[in-house]
């Protein structure tokens, strides 16, 4: 090993400063601000408010939406990832699945405003098959659908990697031992890819709790998530204390979710983006 303490400190300093200023300080500031009210007095009211029915309902509904989004993402992503590993040029197909996730998030969301609008193609289709025009935009359905659309590539990626690492001989063995497809899936494939699923759940559930742009543009303020509440408190009401308190809880939830979903392996391949 090198014995070069001078050199080491030179490149350690910028990184250490970054950790202090942009990782530790922000969390500290959020916690600190959560103890102050609008006029800057020390108070525990924000915490008391958080446990009032308004914020509890908000938290529960935020979790419910995040659950729905994660559930449907997984429901679509798992078979997609599975079938992808069976295709001939799987890396190329995977790349094609990933490309839409690189397109600016705002543009994709904006596309759905048109697609789901009253005169959009979706409504034209509904009219054609005789259901007639429906209000699709600004509903729970549109919110969950668009969110699932946005998150699917991030769910597919870790599951694909887990499935790809799976030794095919294990599946042959299971078949040879007389297991049918379902038993093979339940007893062999699923348990061996559970870490991929956990990673996927982690990268979908946490952001889903904190969405605020999609709620504004697609759900038309009908859905309020923890993220929307924080944005509201910080940028509209200017009540940083309450906003920070919600943020403190969001951080807590984040750590709990990470604990629950962290597998033994931490080797998530980053081909796409975790956002």
């Amino acid at each position: 090993m090198m014995k070069n303490n001078n050199l080491r400190s030179i490149y350690t300093i910028p990184y250490a400063v970054w950790i202090l200023l942009f990782v530790l300080a922000p969390i500290g500031l959020i916690v600190y601000y959560s103890f102050f009210d609008l006029s800057g007095n020390f108070t525990l009211m924000n915490y008391k408010n958080f446990f009032s029915s308004v914020y509890l309902t908000l938290t529960i509904s935020s979790f419910w939406y995040a659950f729905l989004i994660t559930f449907f993402s997984l429901l679509i992503a798992y078979p997609t990832a599975y079938f992808l590993t069976k295709t001939k040029h799987k890396q190329l197909w995977l790349l094609l699945i990933i490309i839409p996730s690189w397109i600016n998030l705002l543009l994709k969301t904006y596309a759905f405003i048109g697609l789901m609008g009253l005169y959009g193609p979706l409504n034209a289709f509904l009219e054609m098959i005789g259901i007639g025009k429906q209000q699709i935009l600004f509903t729970d359905f549109s919110f969950v659908f668009v969110s699932v659309y946005i998150f699917i590539p991030f769910m597919i990626l870790p599951i694909f990697n887990a499935l790809d690492r799976l030794n095919p001989a294990l599946i042959d063995a299971s078949r040879d031992l007389g297991a049918n497809s379902w038993t093979t899936f339940k007893r062999v494939i699923w348990p061996l890819t559970i870490n991929g699923v956990k990673s996927g759940v982690q990268v979908v559930f946490i952001p889903a709790l904190s969405l605020f742009m999609i709620t504004r543009l697609i759900a038309g303020n009908k859905v309020i998530t923890l993220g929307t509440a924080i944005e509201q408190q910080f940028l509209v009401t200017q009540n940083w204390g309450m906003g920070s308190t919600i943020a403190v809880f969001l951080i807590l939830f984040m750590f709990i979710i990470m604990l629950v979903t962290s597998g033994n392996e931490r080797g998530m391949k980053v081909n796409g983006k975790n956002r």
């Binding site: 050199l7 295709t87 839409p100 690189w102 600016n104 705002l106 697609l115 005169y119 952001p207 980053v270």
Partner: protein, 266 residues
């Protein structure tokens, strides 16, 4: 290997169609001479012309690109230093602790990053605008660079450094001639991801941008809130081409760099 059946093929096809439909829908209507995203009237390029005539929009695009390039460059520099710092750390516990700290910003929701940076900037007196946006982008891109560079460092055989030392290389030489060339693919990957993080970011920028300064994402958000404008469609057509180009370029670069390491070039 099992052959893929008909049903799976249909399933995959549907997933692909749904993933790409919104994007192509946007681009399709960017050529519509009518005003909205329904009823295609006739082909026109006027919306593309409108993008290039809109001085404000062009400035915003330039802002976005400048922020992306600068933040990617600086975060790559700091990230590489961070990866080196972690790599040379002898204390395992310490190293794991630093790694966990590194990953906090990667998993933190954007709203939290945005809100906490807003408090930070207000407190230390950074004016909201170009500087605050740039600093935030650098800050949230650093961890991904570290993550991309560390595995490359781990792959490196430590005897390479010993050999260089025995052959009389100075510390600077070792860095320049041995370590940096070896971890180069990781540095490139980190830079590329930092670039896309910055280009794609909406939430953090939304919090820390003042009144005077806007990036593309924030601008699209405020445009979309007021309704449909086909200028956005034309813009998305252009962005799609650039993004696809970037991704394919990155993919090809990656394929090229994945060739086994045979020695230090030059």
């Amino acid at each position: 290997m099992e052959r893929i059946g008909k049903l799976p093929k249909v399933f995959l096809a549907v997933v692909f169609i749904i993933l790409y439909a919104p994007i192509f829908y946007l681009i399709f209507y960017s050529f519509n001479s009518g005003g909205g995203m329904s009823n295609f009237e006739s082909f026109t390029l006027e919306h593309y012309a409108a993008v290039f005539e809109d001085k404000r929009l062009i400035i915003i695009v330039i802002n976005t690109i400048v922020i992306a390039l600068l933040s990617a460059l600086l975060s790559t520099a700091i990230g590489v230093m961070g990866a080196l710092a972690i790599y040379f750390m002898r204390n395992k516990k310490m190293r794991n602790a630093v790694l966990s700290l590194n990953n906090i910003l990667m998993v933190s929701p954007d709203v939290i990053i945005g809100a906490s940076f807003l408090i930070l900037f207000t407190l230390i007196g950074v004016k909201l605008g170009f500087a605050s946006v740039l600093i935030s982008h650098i800050a949230f891109s650093i961890p991904i660079v570290v993550i991309m560079v560390l595995p490359k460092l781990a792959e490196m055989n430590p005897t390479l450094i010993d050999a260089a030392l025995d052959l009389g290389a100075s510390k600077k030489d070792i860095m320049k001639r041995v370590i940096i060339p070896f971890i180069q693919p990781g540095i490139f990957a980190g830079f590329f991801l930092a670039l896309t993080y910055s280009l794609d970011d909406f939430a953090v920028t939304f919090f820390v941008t003042g009144n005077g300064f806007t990036t593309l994402s924030v601008e699209i958000y405020s445009m979309a809130r007021t309704g449909i404008s086909l200028t956005i469609n034309a813009l998305s057509g252009l962005i799609f081409i650039v993004t696809a180009g970037l991704v394919i370029g990155y993919y090809l670069l990656n394929q090229k760099l994945k060739t086994p390491f045979t020695g230090v070039r030059k």
